[in-house]
């Protein structure tokens, strides 16, 4: 029972990340009609926003280490610590949450310039060409990151206050020994919150209404004299921010490295297809569903019956869904079927 | 009455609540040109799609030369001898004009699948001759090496027709063969279709243009709201008050 609860949490947690990435991907596909293979790179860039924040906050200088008295010893000390002492230390400790302040404007900028600079020239070209050019872009982005930050994963820990685990067993009146990392709980809440915010934005604002209408029937909305193109640029920016945030907040869970984007890209496409091309609800549902499935498949009890199932479950589900129900869980009929 | 080639019996088709086709009964005689006319939304295209296997009727039968056609794949219907010429040109835009016609000629000869990766295309003079012949008949002989996708719309329609004719179908279904053509091109197409008629090919024509219909048809069926309201020779249809009322709103033909 406890093991199952943990697996559910694990699954929802992973699912939260999948849902966020897939949400951005499907938003772009549904509105702009572009198959964006650089979407994984946006997730990776988001994670590196956390890295950059951490690096900026820990810009240091060499200071004489007073604790060593036998000889002159120097150690790297961040300016923040020099200026503000313990308060500075706390700020550094909180670099991942603080990175949100950097992630939002930076990812918006990246998203907007990507759309204006490249993507918009590919609206009218074939899906194959869209895939190819964004695949090229993904390679370029990941190689730039490698060139700047190196090839090794960079640890970006969560604030130490919440570095431990939450005694969820005690919360729920179950076994006291049942604990779960705080940061993962926060990530789950964060993803639910972000997904809700995006949906609320699309449902409640006029801007969102136009976007939804555009997803349904782009040509008609264009004929209504609404400047669809500018709105779509903004949609791309929003998608980049959502995906980037998902990446930044994921940094403490998975230390960012330059090729994490490619790994998540395949997954996010699978999620989108399972959910149904162009369906936002489908993308979110499929994200959580696949997260749960993957986490259950990695339980030892399951693996002993079906060895290796944890490695392939997601792809297996995707294959079955595409073959049996090509419009996915919630997709509309006819999207991309020809 | 001559030999019946295509026999449609009690065909019904609904889309949602809409009754697109109701109790259609239609027999097409061998060697005749049978026109189906009717106002927009009368169900003409639906009927054609049922014949060609793109749509499956809710009930009823479609028999071509005694064989059931319902549920067959499009390529099986093609090989049975029923060929459709599309209303919007469905050509191979990336190939040249000659190749566009060689493909259906190959289909006629090879069947649904043949792996001939090691014979040379240039060695298939027979196929090329057939294609050239049809293209010259249609006045496209001068542009056989042109890129099909960049032809004018009228030329694409003629190419489309050539792709149907090269297969020497037992029954040719023409979906508005002259829509969007100039008067000159229309007359040319009429002449051409007359020429095929002399060779004895059975045809079904769906057409808006009464000039075309009355120049070509041996028999006419009038569809309105998914039902056949009149059938007969052009003269009978011309004089039928029911047709004038339903289809032409009382105007003189």
């Amino acid at each position: 029972m406890d093991a199952i609860l943990i697996q559910i949490l694990n699954g929802l947690d992973k699912g939260g990340a999948y849902a966020l990435i897939a949400l951005g991907l499907t938003l772009v596909f549904g509105t702009l009609g572009v198959v964006n293979f650089a979407h994984g790179a946006l997730f990776m860039l988001g994670a590196f926003c956390a890295v950059i924040t951490q690096k900026l906050l820990t810009v240091s200088k060499l200071v004489k280490d007073e604790s060593i008295t036998f000889f002159d010893a120097y150690k790297e000390t961040p300016y923040l610590e020099l200026w503000w002492g313990d308060f500075g230390k706390t700020i550094i400790d909180w670099s991942v949450p603080i990175s949100i302040l950097l992630t939002v404007p930076l990812m918006l900028l990246i998203g907007l310039s990507m759309e204006r600079g490249l993507i918009r020239y590919f609206y009218k070209r074939s899906h194959a060409e869209q895939i190819l050019v964004t695949f090229g872009l993904a390679i370029v982005l990941q190689e730039i990151v490698r060139s700047l930050f190196g090839a090794n994963p960079i640890p970006t820990p969560a604030p130490s206050i919440i570095a431990g685990s939450a005694p969820i067993g005690a919360f729920l009146g179950l076994d006291e020994a049942l604990v779960y990392p705080w940061w993962r709980l926060i990530y789950l809440l964060f993803s639910v919150f972000t997904v809700s915010a995006v949906f609320a934005f699309l449902q409640l604002t006029t801007f969102g209404m136009v976007v939804r209408a555009g997803m349904h029937d782009r040509e008609t909305v264009g004929l209504l004299g609404i400047n669809v193109e500018r709105r779509f640029t903004i949609v791309f920016g929003i998608a980049a921010v959502v995906t980037g945030l998902a990446g930044a907040m994921y940094a403490p869970i998975l230390s960012p490295d330059y090729h994490m984007g490619m790994d998540f890209l395949v997954l996010s496409f699978i999620v989108v297809v399972v959910g149904g091309m162009g369906s936002l609800r489908g993308a979110v549902a499929a994200g959580f569903l696949l997260g749960l499935l993957q986490s259950f498949a990695s339980m030892n009890e399951v693996k002993s019956i079906l060895p290796g199932i944890d490695q392939i479950i997601i792809y297996l589900v995707a294959v079955v869904i595409i073959l049996v129900r090509p419009r996915g869980l919630m997709g509309r009929k006819g999207v991309m079927e020809e | 009455m001559g030999n019946i080639v295509l026999s449609i019996k009690d065909v019904n088709k609904t889309f949602g609540g809409l009754h697109a086709l109701g109790d259609i009964n239609l027999d097409i005689e061998e060697g005749k040109t049978h026109a189906i006319i009717g106002p927009n939304g009368a169900g003409k295209s639906t009927l054609l799609n049922v014949c060609i296997g793109r749509l499956e009727p809710d009930s009823g039968t479609v028999e071509f030369e005694g064989k059931n056609m319902i549920g067959l794949k499009p390529y099986e219907i093609n090989h049975a001898g029923m060929v459709r010429v599309f209303q919007t040109p469905e050509i191979f835009p990336d190939l040249n004009v000659l190749e566009n016609v060689m493909i259906p000629a190959l289909a006629k000869q090879e069947g649904v699948f043949r792996f001939n990766a090691f014979t040379s295309l240039a060695g298939r003079r027979d196929i090329e001759e057939q294609a050239r012949h049809v293209l010259e008949d249609l006045g496209l002989g001068g542009q056989i090496h042109d890129h099909a996708g960049s032809m004018s719309r009228g030329d694409k329609r003629r190419l489309e027709l050539a792709m149907g004719l090269v297969q020497h179908p037992r029954l040719l279904l023409l979906d508005e063969p002259t829509a969007g053509m100039s008067r000159h091109d229309t007359n040319r197409t009429i002449d051409l279709l007359k020429k095929i008629k002399e060779r004895g090919m059975t045809k079904i024509i769906i057409e808006h243009d009464m000039h075309v219909v009355f120049s070509l048809a041996d028999r006419i069926s009038v569809l309105a709201q998914g039902r056949i309201i009149a059938q007969g020779t052009p003269d009978e249809i011309r004089g039928n008050p029911k047709v004038q009322e339903a289809y032409l709103g009382g105007a003189e033909l």
Partner: protein, 381 residues
């Protein structure tokens, strides 16, 4: 005109191609690309790309899973070395058969869908194979270490004829060692055969029908062709080519690892095909040549060599140029590749071959006004 009709003759083309490939060690020497290792790569990836082009170039189906067949080919070949004999012929044949069988299964399922769904299905199969090669299939693939030859391998056929010697045996073709130039010539002969088959396919009714499917698949159905078996045949042919290429990798270096199957490896063959010119006969080979050659050059460069190269510039400019360009060489080669690839897709979707055609067209346009002028002046006279 006569030049063009000559090129329409298959045998003339093949003769030219054969001479060009076999003399590569000579004419590639001036640009420093004539050593066996690189030549082998040209030939092996050439085979891979030619095969991939039969699928992608003729039918337009964009597969992201062809590295699976490459990997499977390598594993099969190494197992043939381990179990049967170090002779490369059985290894190559088995690899083609197994690659083809995998292609039948994956192709049959993936081709039930088209467009991006097809791409994602092939991607999913590729990832499944890759993940399984690393986990449950470790007994067959030897997991992360990769499958290698060992001294204790049975090598049943070899054991019947010769006693096992000291150390690891090397691959051979009836006694001829498959390392160095002989390895290249073995790959080159297979490349020539592979190119010949591809040429015949391109110029056959079958090839025309594949192109027609790419152009308008729906129309093909109404024209009387069942397109599924055509697509599957093309898919399997390209799978066999990939299996062969995988086997040759093992022939020249008897080792097989799962990273060969990763989807980014499939992306590489897409890159090569596009770069050279998808759907053209020779384009994919040009793509392979360009990518493998520059990979070789660029990866070897470092900051020191860059400083030497740009030493003619003023010092301050030299530092800037080196600082920027150093990101594009060595490990940064992939960055160059990504940029190159984007430029090609954006400006030259037809690849290098389209570039050639444009230049030829431009040359014709430039020479024509002169001719016209000449005619005009003669008329005036």
């Amino acid at each position: 005109m006569s030049k063009r009709s000559l090129l329409k003759n298959d045998w003339v083309v093949m003769a030219l191609f054969t001479v060009a490939v076999l003399s590569m060690p000579i004419w590639l020497a001036p640009i420093g690309a004539a050593y066996p290792d690189l030549l082998q790569k040209f030939a092996i990836f050439g085979i891979f790309a030619i095969g991939y082009n039969i699928l992608f170039g003729l039918t337009g189906y964009l597969s992201f899973g062809h590295a699976v067949f490459l990997g499977v080919g390598s594993y099969t070949a190494v197992w043939s070395f381990k179990l049967l004999t170090m002779n490369v012929l059985p290894a190559v044949l088995f690899a083609m058969v197994v690659g083809g069988l995998f292609a039948v299964v994956i192709g049959y399922l993936s081709l039930r869908r088209s467009g991006i769904y097809f791409s994602i299905l092939t991607l999913a199969f590729a990832q499944m194979s890759y993940n399984m090669a690393y986990s449950v299939l470790t007994p067959i693939t030897n997991g992360e270490t990769g499958l290698q030859l060992t001294k204790t391998d049975p090598r049943m056929i070899d054991a019947m004829f010769v006693a096992p010697g000291e150390g690891l045996p090397s691959t051979n073709l009836f006694g001829m060692s498959m390392s160095g130039y002989s390895g290249f010539y073995f790959c080159a002969v297979l490349l020539i055969i592979g190119f010949f088959i591809s040429l015949r396919i391109f110029r056959s009714p079958f090839g025309l029908k594949l192109l027609a499917i790419k152009s308008n698949q729906n129309r093909m159905l109404y024209t009387g062709f069942n397109t599924k078996p055509y697509l599957l045949t093309a898919f399997v042919i390209s799978g066999v080519y990939a299996g062969l290429a995988g086997a040759l990798m093992a022939v020249t270096d008897p080792l097989a690892g799962a990273e060969r199957m990763q989807w980014t490896a499939s992306g590489e063959v897409v890159l090569m095909t596009i770069l050279g010119g998808v759907g053209t006969l020779i384009g994919p080979l040009l793509g392979v040549g360009i990518i493998k050659y520059f990979e070789n050059i660029f990866s070897a460069l470092n900051t020191n060599t860059l400083h030497q190269t740009f030493s003619f510039l003023p010092d301050w400019l030299e530092d800037i140029v080196v600082a920027i360009s150093s990101h594009f060489v060595g490990d940064g080669w992939h960055l160059t590749l990504g940029v190159l690839f984007m430029v090609i897709v954006i400006f030259l979707p037809g690849g290098v071959m389209e570039g050639f055609q444009r230049i030829a067209a431009l040359a014709r346009r430039l020479s024509r006004p002169q001719q016209e002028k000449a005619i005009q002046t003669s008329e005036q006279e």
